[in-house]
């Protein structure tokens, strides 16, 4: 058996893959948080619950409409995104001029309600969701076995992340978003309906979380607490990357997933805490985060 640094290569690459998978979800979720924070100035604590809603939406679409994974991957984010639009219109729009704390408390309360409702109807044991037929099985790469579904998750997540980055940094629509983040009053005085743009941004950020939730359904269990388990780590990722930085959220998400995976190989005892240790160090050295604009 081939060994690298005294570690069997199978184990090393296996953990690297798990790290990339986790990193895919970190990146998708922290990207949504960054987009929402940049535009709304709201720390969206219900992001984990909205990710969970995405997974449940996929499960329910299959149970009650017979719609499988592929349609769910489109429909679930749209449905959950619409609930985000409603939440923004009903609640969040009144909070923008207040301290961050109010948005944080409101979305945190919302997360508790959503999880409580899910637990009430579905229990906390978790529900199975199978890998779509077209992505079952895997391939032997010679140095490791790569399940097709996991390869798909990494590719799809990369594509969605960089697609979002491209739209925000390289298109006319993205220029509106960036400008409105800086000076919403002036952008509105140019004739752009900024409040509608803010609403749709929140809907999009929430839809990203739901998209991650659908992709997670076949890997992790569909359960009410799946979001709250993940979101703590995602917030650490966002703090490390720098609040509001799009590229920072993506790179830090994948990077920390990989670091976490490697820690499992080299020093398993630290694998649950390594991200928080990095967060503490980054906060000491660069309080605005690795990619944060304010230094």
């Amino acid at each position: 058996m081939v060994e690298i640094f005294g570690i069997p290569s199978q184990a090393l690459f296996g953990q690297l893959l798990i790290g990339l998978i986790n990193g895919s979800f970190y990146a998708l979720l922290s990207l949504g948080l960054a987009v929402i924070f940049g535009m709304l100035n709201i720390i969206n604590f219900s992001h984990g619950a909205q990710y969970m809603m995405g997974a449940f939406a996929a499960y329910l679409l299959l149970q009650y409409s017979g719609l499988g994974y592929w349609p769910a991957l489109i429909i679930a984010p749209i449905l959950v995104g619409i609930t985000g639009v409603i939440v923004e219109r009903l609640f969040l729009q009144w909070l923008y001029k207040l301290d961050h704390l109010y948005g944080l408390l409101l979305t945190f309360g919302l997360a508790l309600i959503l999880e409580g409702v899910a637990r009430n109807y579905f229990g906390s044991a978790g529900l199975p969701y199978t890998v779509p037929e077209s992505l079952q099985g895997g391939r032997n790469l010679g140095f490791m076995f790569l399940p097709n579904y996991r390869a798909w998750v990494i590719v799809a997540s990369l594509a969605v992340c960089f697609g979002t980055w491209f739209v925000i940094e390289r298109t006319r629509l993205g220029a509106y978003l960036r400008a409105a983040t800086e000076n919403p009053t002036l952008v509105r005085a140019f004739g752009i309906n900024v409040p509608r743009m803010i609403t749709l941004t929140y809907g999009f950020g929430v839809a990203l979380a739901a998209f991650a939730g659908v992709m997670a359904a076949p890997i992790y269990n569909v359960s009410p607490q799946m979001g709250s388990e993940l979101i703590i780590v995602v917030f650490a990722v966002v703090v490390i990357g720098g609040m509001g930085s799009i590229l920072g959220a993506i790179l830090t998400g994948f990077g920390l997933g990989v670091i976490e995976g490697l820690t499992k190989v080299f020093f398993p005892e630290a694998s649950n805490t390594v991200i928080f240790v990095i967060m503490a160090i980054v906060l000491l050295v660069r309080p605005a985060g690795l990619f944060g604009r304010r230094g």
Binding site: R172, A175, Y176, R178, A179, T181, E182, N183, T185, L186, V187, R188, A189, F190, G191, I192, N193, V194
Partner: protein, 238 residues
């Protein structure tokens, strides 16, 4: 000075507040199609607030702002912009997260009849050279001012609100801005200008209104400027 045409912009008894503070106490004036009208006054007289109130970006306002016969009071600023009014703010409002080209192309076209990009580059040749620059805020003060004016010429807005476009700029740049304002008048734009520098204003303006404590206290045409210079020195405290 009387003109039979209805004014393009008719402001009547305009009052405005920022939170609790009452800034404008009944401002009344008008601007006719194709004119360059200047609001003069000391710091804090309410000139900038008047422009912002027309644009719909102060806290609370009452009275009447008729533009092409349409009432703008009570409309949100995006709908005022779409009626054909554009603001070049005092702080210029260049976006640091946008490059020069993105800054220039940011304001959407609200009506037909805006200037083509080539014409804007005729007026501001420096802007064309700077298109490739990374960040809008890396430009010099004069270039930022040109960018702030240039970007609202594309949109088809007929009324331009320019808030102290010469503030803090070198004399040679001020001359270029003056030349540009006269060229824009030739193109048929109507301009409401806020200035502290009435020497500069006298090179471009058709008429003047003088503001103090949130009211219009005097007005005269450019031809009457010489007769009013002493009074103006009093008003402006120069």
């Amino acid at each position: 000075m009387l003109d039979a045409r209805t004014p393009l912009l008719a402001v009547k008894d305009l009052q405005a507040w920022y939170g609790e503070s009452h800034i404008l106490h009944g401002v009344t004036f008008d601007v006719r199609e194709g004119e360059v009208v200047t609001l003069l006054g000391r710091n804090g007289a309410g000139k900038t607030t008047t422009l912002k109130s027309i644009m719909g970006i102060v806290g609370h306002r009452t009275g009447s702002v008729l533009f092409q016969g349409e009432e703008l009071i009570g409309r949100s600023s995006d709908r005022i912009a779409r009626a054909g009014v554009a603001l070049c703010p005092e702080e210029r409002g260049i976006f640091s997260s946008l490059n020069v080209e993105e800054n220039l192309l940011l304001p959407p076209v609200v009506r037909p009849g805006g200037l083509a990009l080539d014409r804007i580059f005729d007026l501001f040749p420096n802007l064309k050279e700077r298109l490739g620059s990374s960040q809008g805020t890396k430009l010099s003060g004069g270039e930022q001012q040109m960018l702030a004016i240039g970007r609202i010429l594309r949109t088809g807005a007929r009324l331009l609100l320019l808030d102290e476009p010469t503030e803090g700029l070198a004399p040679v740049i001020i001359q270029q801005i003056g030349k540009t304002i006269r060229a824009l008048k030739q193109e048929g734009f109507t301009i409401l200008l806020v200035e502290q520098n009435f020497r500069f204003a006298s090179t471009v303006a058709d008429r003047y209104y003088v503001m103090e404590h949130g009211r219009i206290i005097d007005q005269f045409a450019n031809a009457e400027l010489d007769a009013n210079v002493d009074k103006l020195h009093d008003y402006l405290g120069v």
